[in-house]
């Protein structure tokens, strides 16, 4: 589903966010990108959503080299990916239902179908009763769930989230993570960037640890066989040690 091949990303201000990052996430996987802030988690998500382009190296999404996607093709490409943001990025001038409907309206889905799918998505995040509320009338946790409903309403095969629990207290954070887990269980590939190691310890999921723009460790249940698995196993124990300390 996602393959990074020796990806470098240097921003115009000279900061090198990614230095030769390579990893692969299979279809249907749940993967966490971890590392302290500035390690390059957000840069990876931005490269996946084509918000940024790699300075060097290649990014493959769905077996497609993203370098071959021209600016005109970006909107169509983004419709295949659901994105959840730490700050929700909801539109405050319209009700929750309209926020969730946005990707479907953009994709030109018929009105009746939109209503049905918006209600289904809100039901999945447990906010069906709030569909007519404005985002600012909701709590932060609820707003985040609206953001998730918007990300999944178009039934994308890939869901990415940047620090989705960053502003939530531990209980709400766990709830939101479990929500992502449920989407993963029905076949959606889910990639979550988070620095909350204690939270993701509760999930048996793939983990890609970043430090200073490099992948320092990979661990998880769906690892490749052979040398990669062996080296990952070593890294995994290292990561577990550092997480425990």
């Amino acid at each position: 589903m996602i393959r990074f091949d020796q990806v470098h990303k240097r921003y115009p201000n000279g900061r090198e966010a990614l230095a030769g990052v390579s990893f692969k996430i299979d279809s249907g996987e749940l993967a966490f990108l971890t590392g302290h802030s500035g390690a390059g988690k957000s840069s990876i998500l931005k490269l996946i959503a084509l918000i940024e382009r790699p300075t060097r190296g290649q990014v493959f999404i769905n077996n497609q080299n993203t370098a071959s996607i021209k600016p005109r093709g970006i909107p169509q490409f983004r419709r295949l990916i659901g994105v959840v943001f730490q700050d929700h990025k909801l539109l405050h001038d319209r009700p929750v239902a309209d926020n969730v409907a946005l990707p479907l309206i953009i994709a030109g889905v018929p009105k009746r179908e939109i209503d049905k799918r918006v209600r289904a998505a809100l039901d999945q995040v447990g906010l069906l009763s709030k569909e007519k509320c404005r985002p600012l009338e909701l709590s932060t946790g609820e707003q985040q769930r609206v953001g998730i409903a918007r990300a999944v309403v178009a039934r994308p095969a890939l869901l990415i989230a940047d620090e989705p629990t960053g502003n939530l207290d531990p209980d709400l954070a766990l709830e939101v993570m479990q929500l992502f887990k449920r989407f993963n269980e029905v076949g959606v590939t889910v990639v979550i960037a988070t620095h909350d190691v204690h939270l993701i310890d509760r999930f048996a999921a793939r983990r890609i640890v970043l430090d200073d723009g490099r992948v320092t460790a990979q661990t998880g249940p769906l690892l490749q066989t052979g040398a990669a698995a062996a080296s990952s196993a070593v890294a995994s124990s290292a990561a577990a040690t550092s997480a425990a300390s």
Binding site: A49, I51, R78, K89, P103, R150
Partner: protein, 308 residues
């Protein structure tokens, strides 16, 4: 396919109403923008109304020229009638009126009040005169010119007088005025495009976050641009309606005094406002300018908004 079209139409209708709804959230700013557009459109429009009226008022003057054909003083009444008959036979002549010298003197005596002074004349100084009215077809400057040359060449004709010069000057002035109106109109139309463009640009800056979110969930530039295009259309429509109201008021204010002035000249002339066709044309123009302004601004500035 039909369902797709229906969805598309419904989406456009929704955006159209939505953009109007958004504008009514800032009624003062919206009305100010529309008022500026209205003033910019009303000025050339009103000048054009005046110009059209002047042309309408003077149009029949062109056709009202008679040629005064003064005959040689020695020409007798028999010869005069014969010449009149010849002229009446011409295809470019509608009518010929004969004014004999004695009749002309009598008329002049009555009209001028110089009765006593004229009695002092031993001899009638006036010649026999033919007043020739060209046909409508021959009433063009070229036609009357040719007629004049032709009549002047006839025997016993002393002079032919055709007083069209002042009308030609008037027409030349109207022609200049018409161009001034067009130039002013063009410049002010351009200003409408710029006003709408700038308003839309500020609107886009204010809604940057919203456009970013739309682009993040897969909106094309065209989709993000659409509500702004409709805003431009609404601005144009509002400004156009405003301009029509301004012109209607101006015409109403001037109609009375102009009718009075025309009456003093014994003319039934009345100031005419814009017809339905012209009014619709102006609305169409205003909407088109609003759309153009918003299209230029939105295309440029929405492309620049990229999620970060």
């Amino acid at each position: 396919m039909f369902g797709g079209l229906q969805t598309w139409l419904a989406r456009h209708a929704q955006t159209l109403v939505g953009s109007l709804g958004r504008m009514t959230q800032h009624p003062l700013a919206t009305l100010m923008t529309m008022a500026v557009i209205a003033v910019a459109l009303a000025l050339p429009l009103f000048l054009n109304v005046l110009l059209q009226n002047t042309r309408a008022a003077t149009a029949n003057w062109n056709q009202a020229f008679d040629l005064s054909v003064y005959l040689d003083k020695k020409t007798g009444s028999g010869r005069t009638e014969e010449l009149a008959k010849q002229l009446r036979a011409r295809p470019d002549v509608a009518a010929v009126r004969v004014i004999m010298a004695d009749q002309a003197l009598a008329d002049f005596r009555d009209a001028s009040g110089f009765g006593k002074a004229l009695d002092a004349l031993t001899d009638n100084p006036l010649p026999n005169t033919l007043v020739v009215t060209p046909t409508l077809v021959a009433s063009s400057p070229e036609g009357t010119g040719a007629l004049k040359t032709s009549i002047a060449a006839m025997p016993d004709v002393e002079t032919v007088q055709l007083d069209t010069e002042w009308v030609q000057r008037l027409n030349a002035m109207l022609d200049i005025l018409r161009r001034v109106v067009w130039l002013t109109g063009g410049l002010l139309d351009l200003s409408v495009v710029l006003i709408v463009g700038n308003t839309i640009r500020l609107d886009i800056l204010n809604r940057r976050a919203e456009i970013e979110v739309m682009k993040l969930v897969g909106a094309t530039d065209g989709f993000a641009r659409r509500p702004f295009l409709y805003s431009g259309v609404w601005y144009g429509l509002g400004g156009g309606l405003g301009a029509l109201i301004v012109v209607a008021i101006a015409v109403a204010v001037l109609a009375g005094p102009i009718a009075h002035l025309a009456g003093l000249y014994g003319s039934p002339f009345r100031l005419r406002g814009l017809g339905l066709g012209s009014a619709l044309g102006i609305l169409g123009l205003a909407v088109g300018l609003g759309w153009l302004g918003s299209w230029l601004a939105a295309t440029r500035h929405i492309r620049a908004v990229e999620p970060t």
